[in-house]
């Protein structure tokens, strides 16, 4: 598909949306083998931080 020019409306977003799904092989992450695992790792890290912050707060208050 030709690249649409800025300000033009000749591309159909429906045509291109499915290519952007998580399993796109051309867009594999460099680690964790799949994007789902990368996202899980980021969210798990957030959960870990919240737990650590809570423990930190309780330990010194």
């Amino acid at each position: 598909m030709a690249r649409p020019e800025a300000g033009s409306s000749n591309a159909n977003p429906e045509d291109v949306h499915p290519q952007g799904n998580i399993g796109d092989t051309a867009d594999r992450p460099p680690f964790f083998t799949s994007w789902s695992r990368v996202y899980t790792a980021v969210l798990a890290f957030l959960a870990l931080l919240i737990i650590l912050f809570y423990v930190f707060m309780k330990a010194f208050s």
């Binding site: 977003p13 952007g20 796109d24 460099p30 996202y39 980021v42 010194f60």
Partner: protein, 567 residues
């Protein structure tokens, strides 16, 4: 500031401008100028995203906020990693595949031109006002602390940005953001190390944490649910996620950062890095503020941190009374540091009764100190009824100027300038891009040459920069309007997010329903702002929810009418 500080400050600022010009050279068309030819690697995208979000106020006000209010502000960022994941799944692939220049361009492809124009105009108005503020806010603080006229500080910040953004476009913005973020991180780490180093010899880092915790400054997590409480776990994880989704998903100043990524992978990795690093970074800056607080428990703090307001009261009729309060405040500070040493000692014994008794003694002294400070604030107001009695923004810089060694003071001020430049340059490039792509090219001149659009883009970049400087010069005359401008920005994000979520996830909703739902959503947000006490973090949830709900309602009504006609 000493000579070494001025040298460090000047060399750092000059290196930023020269680096920006060097890295931004060679843009021959608007794809290069406005999208950096989509050649950026994830680490540049990541640091550029972080640098654009972190304004100078982040580094001047956040430590001060921890000093005054404790570390609970960190909860505001809990929703950010969630938003990063949602955007990496949804927005990044769509924007990349469609090769758009702006987020609003996608809305025309998905809906219609009126929806695109509405959102781009909302962005230009809200972000345009905010861009003026991002120059003004640090300029006034730097002006006060360095004793330089605000016209000079705002012209230095704005002028430096205009030089490298006009010459190098987004490529220069991204690379200087990268460099600025490294400078900022280095400055903050050095400042933290110095605070710990400057604590009294008998107070270890762990003791300092006990003091901060005992005095309520380590209040990192609050699980209580209260719509009127601005910072708790729930407002952070839900409201914060909506704010981050709106900011990173619909605000061109952020969308443009990850649109420059070389591929979907590079853009996604940039967002993921932001999701990983942002919360610990904010925690660290707040902890720095908590440590400055502890430092001032053992070293007498000034009664008021803003030197200009203090000088004003010294030169007025209230000078003698103010000096008397200062000496009382110093006496209280000495009593408090003795009581805190006692508190640290009893912590080691582990005796709960002794600990509580020591804590109560500290609380009593604290109450007395607060009484003295309230009296001092009243004197400031009596000396000048327009006096700004909030000195939160000056706490950290006051500490830096008084206690850090030569050279490091210059580095910290360079950090503040760099942070201001990084956020403002991102905003200016986004404003210029939206002006050219969504307004000028779409509505006024559709068939221009690449060279023509490149010249117009450079012109727009310079014009927005000049506007930012002009705003900063006159902002102080706007009085309370400045505060209103800050609030104004938070009123539009929810509606914008609602429009984009409809575009991404509700394929059966059309442009007309979305367009009118956006107006209803905006009315709901203004209703919350004018008639309720709901914290602004929830405005985004309300605006977004109403837009989606109303769009579906409009679609249902339209469908029923069509069915009636057909029937």
């Amino acid at each position: 500031m000493r000579t070494a500080d001025w040298v460090v400050l000047f060399v750092t600022l000059a290196s930023i401008v020269l680096y920006g010009i060097y890295k931004g050279r060679g843009s021959k068309n608007i794809r290069g100028y406005l999208l950096a030819d989509k050649r950026m690697r994830w680490y540049t995208v990541a640091l550029s995203i972080m640098a654009t979000q972190a304004s100078a106020i982040t580094f001047t006000s956040t430590p001060g906020q921890a000093y005054v209010d404790g570390m609970r502000f960190v909860q505001f960022y809990f929703g950010l990693p969630i938003a990063m994941v949602i955007l990496a799944i949804t927005a990044v692939p769509i924007f990349h595949r469609l090769n758009v220049y702006t987020a609003y361009e996608y809305l025309e492809q998905r809906f219609d031109v009126k929806t695109r124009t509405l959102t781009s105009v909302i962005f230009l108005v809200s972000r345009g006002l905010a861009a003026g503020m991002t120059i003004y806010a640090p300029s006034i603080i730097l002006s006060v602390m360095l004793g330089i006229d605000i016209r000079i500080t705002s012209t230095i910040i704005g002028g430096a940005i205009i030089i490298y953004t006009t010459s190098g476009g987004v490529k220069a913005v991204n690379w200087t953001d990268f460099q600025q973020m490294l400078i900022i991180m280095a400055g903050m780490v050095f400042a933290f190390a110095m605070v710990i180093h400057l604590l009294p010899e008998d107070i270890s880092f762990v003791d300092a944490l006990y003091v901060a915790g005992g005095l309520g400054k380590l209040n990192v997590i609050d699980f209580s649910f209260d719509l009127n409480n601005r910072y708790n776990f729930w407002s952070g994880i839900i409201g914060g996620a909506f704010v981050a989704l709106a900011y990173f998903g619909t605000d061109q100043s952020q969308v443009q950062r990850y649109l420059t990524g070389e591929s979907v992978t590079q853009s996604r990795l940039g967002l993921m890095f932001n999701g990983l690093a942002k919360v610990p970074m904010q925690f660290f800056i707040l902890l720095l503020g908590a440590m400055v607080f502890v430092f001032y428990q053992f070293t007498s703090p000034p009664l008021f941190f803003n030197p200009v307001e203090t000088a004003r009261v010294y030169s007025g009729q209230q000078a003698e009374e103010y000096r008397l309060l200062e000496s009382k405040y110093q006496e209280q500070a000495l009593r408090k540091s003795a009581a805190l040493r006692e508190y640290i000692r009893v912590q080691e014994t582990g005796d709960a009764l002794e600990i509580e008794a020591a804590r109560e003694k500290i609380r009593a002294i604290k109450r007395e100190s607060e009484g003295i400070r309230s009296a001092a604030l009243a004197l400031l107001k009596a000396a000048d009824h327009t006096a700004d009695t909030n000195d939160t923004n000056y706490i950290f810089l006051s500490f830096v100027m008084k206690y850090l060694p030569a050279g490091l003071v210059g580095l910290i001020f360079a950090c503040i300038f760099a942070a201001s430049m990084s956020s403002t340059s991102g905003e200016l490039s986004a404003l210029a891009t939206t002006t050219v792509v969504d307004v000028y090219k779409r509505h006024f001149k559709k068939d221009g040459t690449e060279r023509h659009y490149l010249v117009v883009s450079r012109f727009a970049m310079a014009l927005w920069g000049l506007y930012g400087i002009a705003f900063a010069q006159y902002a102080s005359r706007l009085g309370s309007l400045v505060e209103a401008v800050n609030i104004l920005g938070s009123l539009f994000y929810g509606t914008m997010l609602g429009v984009f979520l409809l575009a991404f996830y509700f394929k059966w909703v059309n442009g007309t329903a979305t367009f009118w739902a956006a107006f209803v959503g905006e009315a709901a947000v203004f209703g919350c702002f004018l008639f309720t006490d709901i914290s602004w973090l929830w405005y985004n949830v309300v605006g977004c929810g109403v837009v989606i709900g109303m769009a579906m309602l409009f679609m249902a009504i339209t469908r029923r009418r069509v069915e009636k006609k057909d029937g």
